[in-house]
């Protein structure tokens, strides 16, 4: 009985996404258009697009679910997602734009002049991208199942198909437009129902939230389940703050700024837009505690945003709100998945397929076809994984992707931008040490975890030890191999740090 309206809304969001994508397709002509929108995107639209792409299922459903389930401590997640952009702004925003590279592996290769580093980076982009796509697709399955009763595999498949059609057909130019629209769609979808629900709450005589345990509302209560609240808090914060700059889909979008100065200004707008969105998410958790203190058996906490409206106001109003939220959630799945797929597909195309296809044909048409094939690969693998792996919670899995990014790309980018002494061997050592330790910890947690005691905490929150380890490996090995400082280091650093007005490209 409740299924028609939300399903109609989800269909509408999917069609809208495809429609705007097709409109952008008319503008997309050359290979460079496909990747970075011909570099002609204004800061304001770019900021909306970055935020639209960044606010994933983890933000739309996951944060509220975590706070609902575990309490106050989980607010560190949205704080970390936002602070990540401050760190990105302060350390790498302008230099990355000035590097003039398309993708993360492009930057790594340009800075370190090494094919090995390029290949390692490509591998990590694919790994992080897939790890981040996994919870998006699981979330889509969960959401569609919740609102329509469809089997869990359907939601992920819908997202997969829409994203493949959109990305393969239009590439980045249309995606920029789609993403910018998605932000405002998501903000509306989270804020309007929030206002209505707060009004409903007042009307219902302000029922007080019922904490599931006495420490729910206390700092240290949520992470405290592991017995190591402070470590978990700090490690999560570090992973999110440093991981943001190492997310493949975030970086690609910085290359679409006209220059370094605009890259910084875009980032400031992003921080404003994210803050605006995250103010609303905890409301769902708190109101959820008031109206729906106990979930139906089998329901995951991640569904609280979708469950709340009908619990608060059974009837037409609740149904309409549930439909709006379901539409917003799908906007979140689609936008983040699109951005990730563009990045992962770009890397698969450039570093795996391009040469093989060029051997057959060797013209521009083939490189666009390669991108389309890569798009399929980029999303089918995580979809298969999402059907095989037991869900760990959307925001938790996303946190693991951040941790891998923090332990690998963050040291590479920061040291690459600020340290002349970085050598190819040192960078490779850092990527391997950070990549292997973080993916092992994350892999064990996803496949066999969660574990008890300190070992479990360290594996579930790897950033606080993997990142320093990677930095130490990079610095120590670099100091030991001074002969492997890339020949063009000074030239590259000049380009990264000099304003365009002084050094026209």
């Amino acid at each position: 009985m409740i299924s028609e309206l939300p399903v109609a809304m989800i269909t509408l969001v999917c069609l809208l996404t495809l429609g705007v994508g097709a409109y952008g397709l008319r503008l997309s002509r050359h290979t460079s258009d496909f990747y970075v929108a011909g570099r002609a995107v204004s800061p304001r639209r770019n900021a909306s697009a970055i935020s639209g792409e960044y606010l994933s299922a983890a933000s739309f459903l996951g944060v509220a679910g975590l706070v609902y389930d575990k309490g106050l401590d989980m607010l560190w997640f949205p704080v970390g997602y936002t602070v990540g952009y401050v760190v990105l702004l302060v350390l790498v925003a302008a230099p990355l734009r000035r590097s003039g590279a398309y993708t993360l592996p492009d930057f790594a290769e340009a800075r370190l002049e090494s094919q090995l580093i390029r290949r390692l980076s490509s591998l990590l982009v694919v790994a992080i991208g897939w790890l981040y796509l996994l919870p998006q697709l699981q979330g889509a399955g969960l959401a569609l199942q919740r609102v329509s009763g469809a089997p869990a595999w359907v939601g992920g498949l819908v997202v997969t198909v829409v994203v493949v059609v959109n990305v393969a057909a239009g590439g980045m130019r249309s995606i920029t437009l789609v993403q910018a629209m998605q932000y405002w769609l998501k903000l509306t979808a989270i804020s309007v129902p929030a206002f209505v629900l707060v009004a409903v709450w007042f009307h219902a005589g302000r029922p007080s939230p019922q904490p599931p345990n006495p420490t729910w509302a206390e700092p240290g209560g949520g992470f405290g389940a592991s017995g190591h609240a402070l470590y978990s808090t700090w490690s999560t914060l570090l992973a999110l703050a440093l991981g943001t700059m190492g997310l493949p889909h975030v970086l690609v979008r910085f290359y679409t700024n006209p220059d370094g100065r605009d890259a910084r200004r875009t980032t400031v707008s992003v921080i404003a837009l994210l803050g605006l969105f995250y103010v609303f998410t905890p409301l769902y958790a708190v109101l959820g505690r008031a109206f729906l203190p106990h979930l139906a058996p089998g329901d995951q906490p991640d569904t609280i945003v979708l469950n709340l409206p009908l619990a608060a106001s059974p009837g037409t109003l609740g149904q309409v709100l549930a439909a709006v939220l379901a539409g917003g959630a799908f906007a979140a799945f689609l936008s983040t998945a699109s951005g990730l797929v563009v990045s992962v597909a770009g890397v698969i195309d450039q570093d795996l397929l391009r040469r093989r296809l060029a051997r057959v044909t060797g013209n521009d048409a083939s490189s666009i076809n390669g991108f389309r094939i890569a798009t399929g690969l980029a999303v089918v693998v995580p979809y298969a994984a999402s059907r095989l792996v037991e869900p760990l919670g959307i925001a938790t899995t996303v946190g693991l992707a951040f941790a891998v990014a923090a332990a690998t790309f963050a040291p590479l980018l920061v040291l690459g931008v600020w340290w002349r002494g970085l050598t190819t061997v040192g960078a490779a050592a850092g990527l391997v040490v950070g990549g292997v330790s973080a993916t092992l910890a994350v892999g064990l947690t996803i496949l066999a975890g969660p574990f008890d005691g300190w070992a479990g905490v360290l594996l579930a929150q790897p950033a606080a030890w993997c990142t320093p380890l990677a930095v130490a490996a990079t610095v120590i090995v670099s100091l030991a191999t001074p002969r492997h400082i890339p020949a063009g280091t000074v030239r590259t650093l000049i380009r990264l740090h000099t304003p365009e007005s002084v050094l026209p490209s």
Binding site: T82, E218, L237, P282
Partner: protein, 130 residues
């Protein structure tokens, strides 16, 4: 081809140095360009490190204060406990103000570099002047 060589070498001294001279120094990686790069990078890095240190102190200190000073948990504003207000709302404007401050300061560093570069006799003897 011979003509092209003559233009680059002989006219440079004759024309007034434009604001591209610094760009030239940097591009050609002269000793002067290197001095500029070091100055620019250390000024920017100092700024970034300061912003990060203050931010990190606040964010690392916050859970510590909540953990060590239980009284902070019991403060309420309009019925909402302080930790919820800080983590749910106050963090975001603070992040925005920090970001704004950084962008202004960092653009000022770049502007100073450009101003120096626009002067007839680039750096050497203390540049700036009254």
């Amino acid at each position: 081809m011979a003509e092209r060589v003559r233009i680059t070498s002989s006219r440079r001294g004759a024309t007034r140095p434009t604001d591209r001279s610094l760009g030239h120094e940097l591009r050609e990686q002269t000793g002067l360009g290197d001095v500029y790069l070091r100055g620019l990078m250390s000024a920017q890095l100092r700024l970034s490190a300061t912003v990060l240190a203050v931010g990190a102190l606040l964010l690392v200190g916050l859970p510590l204060v909540f953990a060590l000073v239980p009284a902070t948990r019991d403060i309420t504003l309009a019925g909402i406990p302080l930790p919820w207000l800080v983590l749910g709302v106050a963090v975001y404007p603070a992040a925005l103000v920090t970001a704004r401050f950084y962008v202004r300061a960092s653009e000022r560093i770049e502007r100073e570099l450009r101003d120096v570069s626009a002067q007839p006799d680039p750096p050497g003897a203390g540049g700036g002047g009254p």
